[in-house]
Amino acid sequence: MCAASAQAATPTRLVLTAPSSVALGEEIFLEARLTTNGGQPVAGAGLELRQVGAVGERVMAQATTDAEGRASFGHREYSVSALTLRVAFHGSPSYGPSRADTLVAISGVEVAPTLVMSHAPSPLVKGILFSLLGSIWLTYVYAASRVALVARDTWPGR
């Protein structure tokens, strides 16, 4: 849970309550409370729930604050193992914008192991490669040795 300050005429702040981890498919229940910096609730304000990713944000849900300045969101996650969620208030003529982020870990998601192929060949691979190469050159040596056999056949005494 974290909070952020607004910078408009009447600064606002958002306080976000969310679980730090849920199981796969379990509902993530988020409650946001929008107040002025002095603690007065802001009613009737439109809030957005967004997922924050590496390449940008996407809006997932919208809600309006009640008389207490509270709004709630629900989301079920089935794919990723960690979700950065952001609740944002864009601001209005009377109130400045504010936002709050939270990170929710999703347990039970099967994460593919990170496979980093090493470009440097292992001793086993090197061994196989050099064995293959060696066998080729050994065949050359064998073929060349047949020339020696041909030549030996004419040596004196044979």
Partner: protein, 498 residues
């Protein structure tokens, strides 16, 4: 068969003189390149591979002639191979001798080639290339030499040859007397080499393709590049051997040894690999074009319609379509009917095609815009007419070529050689010229230095081959003799049986 070794006419010296002149010009150009650096070439920061690497890939491809014709046919026991194996094996050696150093020529600082060995990293395809080509070259020398030993002994024992030549043959013949023990040893050596040289040759061109394929560039990063290159190499290798056979058959009057049957069988092989290569080409471009990634589409557009389209379509027509037509012509009786069409008589059709073709070339390269504006002739229309007339010209020669199948196949092989060189150019250059970042396409215009060195490379190849033909029999005499003896003993056996 030994006549070329005993007598040398003025034509040979003229050829050697002309080739040496071309090689000298190439040498001079290379000296300039060494002094000035690669600034003497059209190569630049972006297009760092041009004609030299095109030549490298081309010659390594041609070197597959020996492997296919000799090793595969030997292993599979194809008897008809006997008169052509020597020529094929020699092509392999000389193509490697000319092709491999092209990498050095491409280097601004050739002395740094030693760094490949000093600091070589096994994970680099460049090192794989050095290892595989070195292995192939050593194997090819041995594979050329072994089957020559009995013929070298025959030359050693030929009194008509000069003493100095016979002294060389004596050393090379390794004391061959033709005993059964010697025969056994030699056959063992040849058999071992025939088997091992096939995977080595395939690995060589696969590794050459991986130099491109392991790079994340449009047009190069392809999973089929290995087999695509191997098929292309065998295709151009067959073409090279047919061309060489055609030339030597004509010059040295070898019709008794290199029969129309040999050309026909090699023609079938050429046609098979022609279609295989066409299949790979279509598969490659269709797959990457259908995926429509921006970089791939950009490259394909440049090849099909843009800056490289002339070369691409020339390659397609000259290297893939024309050879297939020419190879098929001798087998199509319907071609004879073309003689009855007055418009398709060779002289009028060829003359018309030549004139309009020339006009099309002039319009296309010089004054297409002006012609279009002045006469309202579309450039594409002129080209289309030229193509139709060129096709008519080819068809008009159909009946003539049908009566001369050897000429048709040799002509097809010459076209394949040209087409495959163009293909290597459009593999190497457009992918390098294409921007990796959002910049302009790079331009590459080979300079006279590069053209001279390229001409010298081809001249060296021809010179080596011509000199080889002067020192060694182009046809494996003992193998042909062996085949004839075996054929006659079979015939005798049949007579006795009847």
């Amino acid at each position: 068969m030994l006549r070329p070794l005993q007598h040398t006419g003025w034509g040979f010296w003229l050829l050697v003189g002309a080739l040496l002149a071309v090689i000298a010009l190439g040498g001079y150009a290379y000296l300039i390149q060494l002094r000035v650096g690669l600034g003497a070439t059209g190569l630049n920061n972006q297009v760092s591979w041009g004609l030299y690497i095109t030549n490298f890939v081309f010659f390594i491809g041609v070197s597959h002639a020996g492997t296919l014709i000799s090793a595969i046919l030997r292993v599979t026991g194809a008897e008809w191979r006997r008169p052509i194996t020597r020529m094929a094996e020699a092509i392999t050696v000389f193509a490697l001798l000319v092709g491999a150093p092209m990498v050095l020529v491409d280097m601004g600082r050739p002395d740094r080639i030693l760094n490949v060995f000093r600091f070589g990293r096994l994970q680099s395809p460049i090192l794989w290339d050095v290892i595989s080509i070195t292995t192939y070259m050593a194997g090819s020398f041995l594979y050329l030499y072994l089957p020559m030993i009995p013929d070298l002994a025959q030359l050693r024992d030929t009194p008509a040859l000069p003493a100095w030549k016979r002294a060389i043959y004596r050393v090379l013949a390794a004391g061959w007397r033709g005993t059964s023990r010697q025969h056994t040893a030699l056959e063992q050596g040849i058999a071992a080499m025939a088997i091992v040289i096939i995977p080595v040759a395939i690995s060589v061109h696969t590794v050459v393709s991986w130099i491109f394929g392991m790079t994340l560039r449009a047009g190069w990063h392809s999973t089929i590049f290995g087999p695509y290159f191997v098929i292309g190499a065998i295709f151009s290798g067959i073409a090279a051997i047919i061309t060489a056979m055609g030339v030597f058959r004509h010059v040295y009057r070898l019709e008794r040894f290199l029969t129309a049957d040999h050309f026909q069988k090699l023609g079938y092989l050429l046609l098979t690999f022609n279609f295989l290569y066409l299949y790979f080409t279509i598969s490659e471009y269709l797959t990457i074009g259908y995926g429509a990634e921006i970089k791939d589409v950009t490259l394909i557009h440049a090849l099909f319609y843009g800056a490289f389209s002339r070369m691409f379509w020339l390659m397609a027509i000259v290297g893939l379509i024309l050879p297939a037509v020419l190879t098929l012509i001798p087998h199509l009786p319907v071609v004879d009917r073309l003689e009855r069409v007055p418009l398709l008589r060779p002289v009028p059709a060829a003359t018309a095609a030549l004139l309009v073709g020339l006009a099309a070339v002039v319009l296309h390269f010089r004054g297409a815009v002006q012609a279009s504006a002045t006469w309202g002739i579309s450039r594409d229309m002129v080209l289309a007419v030229a193509i139709v007339l060129a096709a008519m010209a080819v068809l008009s020669f159909g009946p003539v070529l049908r009566r001369r199948p050897v000429t048709a196949i040799v002509l097809a092989s010459v076209f394949v050689n040209i087409g495959m060189w163009l293909k290597r150019y459009i593999i190497v250059v457009p992918s390098m010229a294409m921007p990796l970042t959002r910049t302009e396409w790079a331009t590459y215009q080979p300079t006279w230095v590069e053209w001279s060195i390229t001409a010298a490379a081809f001249a060296t190849f021809i010179l080596l081959y011509a000199l080889f033909a002067k020192f060694f029999p182009l046809i494996s005499l003992w193998e042909v003799r062996e085949a004839r003896a075996s054929a006659s003993s079979v015939a005798r056996g049949q007579e006795v049986a009847t």
